[in-house]
């Protein structure tokens, strides 16, 4: 490799990653007056060109299946770019006996371009896990510390929902929610009869014009990316105001390899690979905010070895890579005869559920600890590749009868997905694979994974609940799961729910945690990790809203330190 190319300039802050964490930090820090450089491993995003919003399947030669049908495994060809389970030239490995999948995104905005937009606050109890049931650890901060930042994030990005006063699902700053679809009307009624809480969902989709962004136009295609920016993505909502300050330098195609520590024990530079030229470059900054996604952030620290930190940067605790969790996921679906009677109508709505079931059994003793929420959807959605596999499998045959059967069954299914809290365990972690590098020469991660009995019992409870809801509504529950095997009660492999987190966790003790409550490294004061790596627990709440609240809070703290001359 040629000599490292050093930038002559020293920025105030270097942010690594442009997703929920990096985008939020960029907005706050630049608006606070700092000069910021942001590294993104993927290309720039051009929504008008890159998003396939309002494209019909028949307008694409592959109909949404992708080249060779392979996009079906990556949520289809319509998904906003560039997320994938496998990235050419950038492998990861999984230890023998473990199963783990890692969904990564390489593009400005990262996974916020196509995420589910589910924006749920952690509840007060979620920050006090160990105090509540003796398992896991408490956070070094409380709900009251984060609540003002939840307010700021929701007010800025726009979230719809309703005030419900449910202790497991704190209310936020909400726009009005969309009215229920037929599927949601049926499930709400069934849940009411079963005393299962079912309320309007909370999604980062704006139902009224907000900060120059037009209101949602109800095409149900949020996952494709929204050209009108009527839902939240970092690329369209956080980064533009940062750019408007004139103080953000965005470098794309920049794969961070190592954060370099100075003799004074402070981080002084980041070395990255310029993917276009394959050259190594180095950028100096007075502070570093890492938001590369939980596992990429851990990987970067573990790969940043020095005499001072032989086990990786800021890793005197040995906690980097440990405490890896994902949400407990189990799903199923049912057939609802009443949906077969529905006349053709526009069922689209927003790109996600209009209602959901927050954790409702917090007031009783269950045979597992912690809780889960339920997401559901179905009905008369835009037909897609694979949509009739089940009907074809059930009815078989061919000809006019099969064709008619497909039409009869279209729109009559509702799917359910439980999303529960996993308690960190010793067997689930990531580390540097000693034998493998990616095409940029950077050592890759190796994953270790194991579910515990608590999560499997939770998955069983999900399955029983789905069946109850479907059968109580007069439907037929179609999903069959086994209590044993690789996926007991349908529990998904680690990583599959794409809520992996905890690998650079915060805590009050530098012996057992990497960061303090401001996402600041105990060992290296000018290093912050503000993505979900910093989480202490993986509550049954999708992590993105909390990532943004923590990153905003950390950025405010960093700004304050800068003003005091501590950078």
């Amino acid at each position: 490799m040629a000599q490292v190319i050093r930038s002559p300039k020293t920025y105030d802050v270097c942010i690594i990653g442009s997703g929920a964490a990096g985008g939020t930090a960029a907005k706050i820090l630049t608006e606070g007056g700092l000069n910021v450089v942001m590294l993104e491993a993927g290309p720039p995003l051009n929504p008008e060109k890159d998003f396939k919003e309002h494209v019909w399947p028949y307008q694409l030669p592959h109909r949404g299946a992708g080249v060779g049908g392979r996009a079906s495994a990556d949520f289809g060809e319509f998904l906003a770019p560039n997320g994938a389970w496998e990235i050419d030239g950038e492998p990861y490995t999984v230890a023998p006996g473990s199963r783990f999948r890692w969904f990564r995104s390489r593009i400005v905005g990262g996974r916020t371009n196509h995420w589910g937009r589910i924006a749920l606050r952690f509840a007060p109890v979620d920050f006090r896990a160990r105090s509540s049931d003796g398992m896991g650890d408490d956070w070094p901060i409380s709900y009251d510390d984060v609540a003002p930042y939840y307010d700021k994030v929701e007010s800025f990005i726009g979230v719809f929902g309703t005030k419900e006063n449910i202790s497991s699902a704190p209310d936020g700053v909400f726009m009005k929610p969309p009215v229920p679809r037929c599927t949601e009307t049926i499930i709400k009624k069934s849940c009411d009869q079963l005393n299962i809480t079912c309320i309007p969902s909370r999604l980062a989709v704006i139902t009224e014009a907000h900060n120059g962004r037009p209101a949602c136009h109800y095409c149900a295609q949020c996952g494709r990316g929204c050209i009108s920016a009527s839902n939240f993505s970092s690329s369209q909502v956080m980064i533009p105001p940062a750019q408007k300050t004139g103080r953000l330098t965005l470098i794309t195609g920049a794969m961070a390899r190592e954060i370099v520590i100075g003799k004074d024990g402070r981080a002084e530079a980041v070395s990255y690979i310029d993917k276009a030229t394959r050259e190594e470059r180095r950028i100096n900054a007075r502070a570093f905010v890492v938001g590369a996604s939980a596992c990429e952030s851990a990987r970067l620290l573990l790969n940043s070895k020095s005499a001072m930190f032989p086990d990786g940067l800021a890793n005197s605790s040995g906690a980097v890579g440990r405490y890896l969790t994902d949400s407990v996921g189990s799903s199923g679906y049912g057939y609802f005869p009443q949906l077969a009677k529905m006349p053709a109508h526009n069922h689209d709505g927003v790109g996600g559920m209009h209602m959901y079931m927050p954790w409702w059994k917090f007031d009783r003793k269950n045979d597992f600890l912690r809780g889960y929420h339920i997401e559901f959807g179905g009905g008369r959605e835009m037909p897609g590749v694979g949509g009739f596999d089940g009907v074809c499998e059930d009815y078989e045959g061919y000809g006019a009868g099969l064709k008619q059967k497909c039409r009869d069954m279209y729109g009559t299914f509702i799917g359910f997905a439980g999303r529960g809290e996993m308690i960190p365990n010793e067997q689930s972690y990531c580390e540097i694979d000693p034998g493998t590098v990616d095409q940029w020469g950077i050592p890759v991660l190796r994953f270790h994974w194991q579910w515990s009995d608590n999560e499997i019992k939770m998955a069983r409870d999900m399955q029983e609940t789905f069946r109850d809801i479907v059968e109580n509504a007069g439907g037929t529950y179609y999903w069959q799961v086994r209590p044993d095997g690789d996926h007991p009660y349908g529990i998904e492999d680690g990583g599959v729910i794409i809520h992996e987190l905890g690998t650079v966790r915060m805590g009050s003790s530098p012996k057992t945690s990497v960061l303090n409550g401001y996402c600041q490294a105990h060992d290296v004061k000018n290093l912050f990790v503000t993505d979900a790596a910093s989480f202490v627990s993986n509550a049954d709440k999708n992590p993105t809203l909390t990532i943004m609240a923590l990153s905003w809070r950390a950025s405010d703290y960093l700004l304050d330190q800068a003003k005091k001359g501590n950078l």
């Binding site: 109909r63 109800y218 053709a344 064709k403």
Partner: protein, 194 residues
């Protein structure tokens, strides 16, 4: 009509009448889509199969149309472009090449053994006889000699359904309404019993 995207977004933000929005944005979306498929359309006179040899492609077309035929409500799998879709994906996927290319060979081989003719040369009654066997999994339990045919047909049936129900006529046949611009989402229409 010359309306910039910025004008469109501005009118959306201001809550302009739904009708004006409905007229403008789909036109832009369509223009975008048309660019993407322009190359395909240009060559749309006679489709030249990318993977299947002529005889196999003709068999594939026949099978697709048998799986999803035209009826009084819509065209069938051929009108929906299902064979082209299947050929394109198969040309890019070696697993599909074995399953479908090999499956079509299996069908012709089995028809030759039974009837002394390739599938396309069989009488309608003979074609029905073999399809009625390989179209149902239970038949492979009673007659394991057709199990490979059952697997092939099941795979082809799924792909044919994909090709048909993602086509313009297939989507219209199902009655999907949407992918449009609404100012308000109307919710569930009133239906007795819901």
């Amino acid at each position: 009509m010359s309306i910039s995207r910025r004008d469109v977004l501005k009118s959306l933000a201001m809550g302009a009448a739904a009708t004006s929005v409905l007229r403008t944005i789909p036109a832009q979306a369509a223009e975008y889509a048309h660019r993407m498929v322009a190359a395909e359309k240009a060559a749309a006179t006679v489709y030249a199969p990318k993977f299947f040899p002529a005889h196999q492609y003709k068999t594939l077309q026949t099978l697709c149309q048998t799986i999803i035929p035209a009826d009084s409500d819509s065209g069938g799998a051929i009108e929906a472009g299902a064979p082209e879709f299947i050929d394109l994906l198969t040309s890019e996927n070696t697993e599909y090449q074995v399953k479908l290319g090999g499956g079509l060979m299996w069908l012709d081989g089995t028809c030759s053994d039974r009837y002394g003719k390739l599938y396309l040369d069989c009488t309608p009654q003979q074609q029905k006889e073999i399809l009625d066997q390989i179209a149902y999994r239970n038949n492979a339990v009673t007659d394991p000699s057709i199990s490979q045919g059952v697997e092939f047909f099941s795979f082809l049936r799924n792909m044919t359904a994909d090709g048909f129900f993602t086509s313009e006529i297939g989507i219209k046949y199902l009655g999907y309404i949407g992918s449009t611009f609404l100012k308000e989402f109307p919710g569930c229409p009133p239906v007795p019993g819901l």
